[in-house]
């Protein structure tokens, strides 16, 4: 079936005119129509626009143009601004917001000729690990619809798991690509901070946010990242460094690759989870890699550090949603303060408010040094730990999550337990490192992810290792029952 073909295979068939982009688009639109009502993975459908884009792609193909993503259907996380299309960020406060411009990621993917099918559900302003904080309701995990798909890019992950598009975009501030990728059995990559432009991506925590990809395979992710990555003069934090040819580098041999096992990740790790990771390490060893244990002594501090830095930045980033220029405005404001209080009070959900309040607190006079400044110092120590580890190893490997997908409603009332779900993923964001999650097995019939974290700008190495792991295993080919 078309939805189980790789981007490379689809590109070949499109080029050979065996299928058209319009046919491919119709195929995915039909799947969305069939499966989305029970998954709630997409919150905006752009079917008509998609067919028009597909027809345009077909014309380009007919004219002899070729491209890795030309004519390939995708779904954007609703955090990326899309010109003329609602960009809600999963929030009531932007429920009526039609973006007047395209994010740089959207522009680049559009220019490559890919076809947007719609916008994916997400935790409100990307704050959440279960996709339960969305104004549009929770997303359901295709592997078990009573369970969460993870978050915050839960809609993108669920759509990918259910094969509703050839790839999906996502963003990762504390694990929001890797964790849901693991919980839905798909491949996800969060590039190095600065590798992909943040322009047009609604900001949650500016120093941590990074756009990335959900795909069936590492090879597909490489093809998409190739298009997304690169310097953008509109984003001062994007890095002006050449983008390697990721697809061409997938075959680099793993012989002699030094893989570090993070002691801190394995302490207290659930036995079945540990066994899956051990099995995966066996695969890497058989491919010629060496494994050795390393320690990042400050890594256990990443969750508290993150929950100071991220809320601090979010409290400021979300100040622009004030009911004055766009978005939700309360009815009949009495005065300016009432306009602010009720527009924001009614427009934001509970988790967003919790983080705005936390962030406001840690930045306020008298607390700044004890919280924000201290957190920045710890962040530096964590970054230095990683740097030291990469003197000894080429990449670090461990679990993506402590457990498989949990039930909807199981953790939503206990923020601290929910926050601990990101315990393995947050470190990479604090240090700005690229990270990936690839399927590595199942616990109780639910997919689990293997996480790889590399040095800055080592995306080619991560994608290559993941690709060769996927050539030696079949975990990434499993599709949830009923979505085959």
């Amino acid at each position: 079936m078309l939805h189980n073909l790789s981007i490379g295979e689809l590109a070949d068939r499109l080029a050979a005119r065996q299928i058209s982009s319009v046919e491919l688009t119709r195929h995915f639109l039909a799947r969305i129509e069939r499966f989305n009502p029970s998954l709630n993975a997409l919150i905006t459908l752009t079917g008509e626009q998609a067919l028009a884009s597909a027809a345009a792609a077909d014309r380009r193909l007919a004219a002899g143009e070729r491209g890795r993503l030309l004519g390939i259907p995708l779904i954007h996380k609703d955090i990326f601004c899309t010109d003329g299309v609602r960009t809600s960020c999963g929030s009531r406060i932007l429920d009526n917001f039609i973006a007047p411009y395209d994010a740089t990621v959207v522009t680049r993917i559009k220019a490559a000729g890919a076809v947007m099918l719609g916008k994916a559900n997400m935790d409100e302003f990307a704050m959440g690990s279960s996709n339960e904080t969305s104004f549009y309701g929770p997303v359901r995990n295709p592997w078990d619809r009573t369970r969460v798909p993870g978050g915050s890019s839960g809609g993108s992950a669920a759509a990918m798991g259910a094969r509703l598009a050839s790839f999906c975009t996502g963003t990762d501030t504390g694990g929001s690509i890797r964790q849901p990728a693991a919980l839905t059995g798909v491949t996800g990559i969060k590039p190095t901070y600065g590798r992909v432009s943040r322009y047009g991506m609604v900001a949650f925590a500016s120093s941590l946010d990074q756009a990335g990809v959900f795909a069936r395979t590492a090879a597909d992710a490489a093809a998409v990242l190739q298009v997304m990555a690169g310097f953008d003069p509109k984003d001062s934090t994007s890095v002006d460094a050449p983008v390697p040819d990721y697809p061409a580098l997938l075959g680099e041999p793993l012989e002699g690759l030094r893989i570090g096992l993070l002691r801190e990740f394995f302490e207290g790790l659930e036995a079945r989870n540990a066994a899956l990771i051990e099995e995966a390490l066996g695969v890497f060893r058989s491919l010629g890699a060496d494994t050795l244990e390393v320690s990042l002594p400050h890594l256990p501090l990443s969750v508290p550090t993150y929950y100071v830095v991220a809320p601090a930045e979010c409290s400021s980033n979300l100040s622009r949603f004030d009911g004055v220029r766009y978005g939700y405005r309360c009815a009949e404001p009495k005065d300016l303060i009432d306009l602010y209080q009720r527009s924001r009070g009614e427009g934001f959900g509970a988790e967003v408010k919790r983080r705005i309040m936390t962030g406001t607190y840690v930045l306020s006079a008298g607390y700044y040094d004890a919280y924000y400044l201290k957190a920045q110092k710890v962040r530096r120590l964590i970054t230095d730990d990683f740097r030291a580890a990469y003197q000894k190893v080429d990449l670090l490997i461990g679990p993506t999550t402590p457990t498989p997908a949990f039930g909807i409603g199981a953790k939503i009332d206990d923020p601290v337990t929910m926050y601990l779900n990101d315990i393995y993923t947050i470190g990479a964001n604090l240090a700005g490192l690229p990270g990936m999650s690839v399927p590595c097995g199942f616990i109780d019939g639910l997919p689990m992810g293997l996480q790889m974290i590399g040095p800055h700008f080592s995306e080619a190495r991560l994608l290559g290792a993941a690709h060769q792991f996927q050539r030696a295993t079949r975990w990434h080919e499993h599709t949830p029952g009923g979505y085959e």
Binding site: C81, F97, Y101, S206, T237, R320, V324, R325
Partner: protein, 484 residues
């Protein structure tokens, strides 16, 4: 009572930098455009947009720093100042807090009594301006114009070194002159391009500690600065004298009533929750960049004034006045070039006298003077070659100013050419003597004071055209009974 108190003043001057586009967006900065026509998505703080620093604004800040001999920070940081207001679209202002571009510097100011005082500059930092809220128009509504939002400002913070309102005015004028010399600010105070906040306190003479200060906001004229400080000083002295206590607060100067009024006290003041802006990387400048800016520095006002005093024998005061603006200095120098350095004093007197009063009277800028430097040097040339007297020249100047004709044309048309024919002057003297026999007798009897009377009579009879030096000599001779 004033004598018992010492006044302490520090100024925060806001100079709008004369860049073509805004500090963090590509919008134009021109004054007076239709509301909201110079505000793009970045200025409007749309979701997902990002700031990019305008390098020209940085260059201008460095130029200022170099001109006051300040330390230029190799690494400086932009910070967010968080507060809610409708004309502040992001809910924070991007400013600099802990590491400003320009560090400590100083400026020598000439006071009214000719004494020179050095005023310390604590720092100067870059920041963006807010928009404007207009509480006028139909109904009870407020309107917002965001054309000004994002306009680059250089905030120049002085040490509390000033001890009188006049000193504060002299300092502000000096900065005003400097920023225009550097061509980094148009200095237009009516349009708000150059304005200041004054921190004012009083303390018993001889005390070591500063008194509690009040901050007077948004003073946009030298006269208002002086009056506001004078009012505030009197208010504070009276308050303390009557047993009260000055509270730290922000006050507004009402020029109609000539008083300052409380805006908000420190207790009500915002906690701005400053923190480094994660959207902007720290600004790193190397010596090469700083030197490239130094190479663009013009001759500075103090250097120019010293040269005028040295080369043209002018007093320090006159030289300072002539260097108050680059244009005035250039005007004066072109006169000197035409007339020769020997006549520099004459040129200086005319520029500071007739020309300046005509400019002030008609509120005309020197660059738009109705008598050009070439025209004025032609007129002064006629004084030098004794075609007309200095007194007649003033009438000719007025005619040139109002009729727009050249000096020679007016002299010819009005027959103002000076009488230098000794015979002609003598015959007038003879007639005057004949008509005033009593005065002649008194003079000859020893009443020397009557000499002036005869000068006046002859001048009256010649329409002021008699050459004064010749008249003097001839009259002395005649009155004493000599001559032909």
């Amino acid at each position: 009572m004033m004598a018992d108190w010492e006044v302490v003043i520090g100024l925060e001057i806001h100079a709008q930098l004369a860049t073509k586009s805004k500090i963090f967006s590509g919008s134009a900065t021109a004054y007076g455009a239709e509301p909201n026509t110079q505000a793009n998505l970045v200025d409007l703080a749309y979701p997902g947009v990002l700031p990019v620093l305008n390098a020209e604004a940085l260059r201008m800040a460095v130029k200022f720093g170099l001109a006051i001999g300040a330390k230029i920070a190799r690494r400086s940081i932009f910070a967010r100042k968080n507060y809610f207001y409708p004309d502040l679209p992001k809910g924070y202002q991007i400013s600099q807090y802990e590491q400003p571009v320009v560090g400590k510097g100083a400026l020598a100011v000439v006071l009214d009594d000719g004494a020179v005082k050095t005023i310390g500059v604590t720092r100067a930092h870059l920041e963006e301006d807010a928009g404007k809220s207009l509480h006028e128009g139909p109904g009870n509504a407020s309107f917002i114009d965001l054309n000004r939002a994002g306009t680059p400002l250089l905030e120049i913070v002085s040490e509390p070194d000033m001890r009188a309102a006049r000193e504060a005015v002299a300092y502000m004028k000096k900065i005003h002159t400097l920023v225009r010399y550097l061509e980094i600010c148009d200095g237009n105070m009516q349009e708000g391009s150059f304005r200041c906040d004054a921190n004012v306190s009083v303390r018993p003479r001889g005390a070591n500690q500063f008194g509690t200060r009040a901050e007077i906001k948004n003073l946009n004229s030298f006269r208002f600065l002086e009056k506001a400080i004078q009012y505030e000083v009197a208010r504070q002295i009276e308050l303390i004298g009557s047993g009260g206590r000055v509270v730290q607060e922000t006050r507004l100067y009402d020029s109609d009533k000539n008083e300052t009024r409380s805006m908000r006290s420190k207790e009500e003041a915002n906690d701005y929750r400053y923190f480094p802006d994660p959207d902007l990387l720290p600004v790193e400048m190397d010596q090469e960049f700083i030197e490239s800016v130094r190479a663009t520095l013009p001759e500075l006002p103090d250097e120019k004034a010293a040269r005028f005093a040295r080369d043209f024998g002018l007093s320090a005061y006159d030289a300072g006045v002539l260097c108050a603006s680059r244009e005035l200095g250039a005007y004066f120098e072109s006169l000197v070039q035409a007339l020769g350095a020997a006549h520099a004093k004459l040129a200086a007197n005319w520029v500071m006298g007739e020309l300046s009063s005509a400019l002030n009277r008609d509120n005309v800028e020197i660059t738009a003077s109705r008598v050009s430097a070439a025209d004025l040097s032609a007129l002064l040339g006629r004084i030098v070659d004794e075609t007309i007297s200095g007194k007649i020249a003033k009438d000719v100047f007025e005619a040139m100013w109002s009729e727009g004709k050249g000096a020679d044309a007016i002299i010819e048309a009005r027959g103002l050419r000076q009488i230098t024919d000794a015979g002609a002057i003598e015959s007038v003297i003879d007639a005057v003597m004949a008509a005033n026999p009593k005065q002649l007798a008194d003079y000859r009897a020893g009443k020397d004071k009557l000499f002036g009377f005869f000068v006046g009579q002859v001048m009256k009879a010649t329409g002021g055209k008699a050459n004064p030096a010749q008249l003097n000599d001839l009259l002395k001779l005649k009155l004493s009974g000599g001559g032909s």
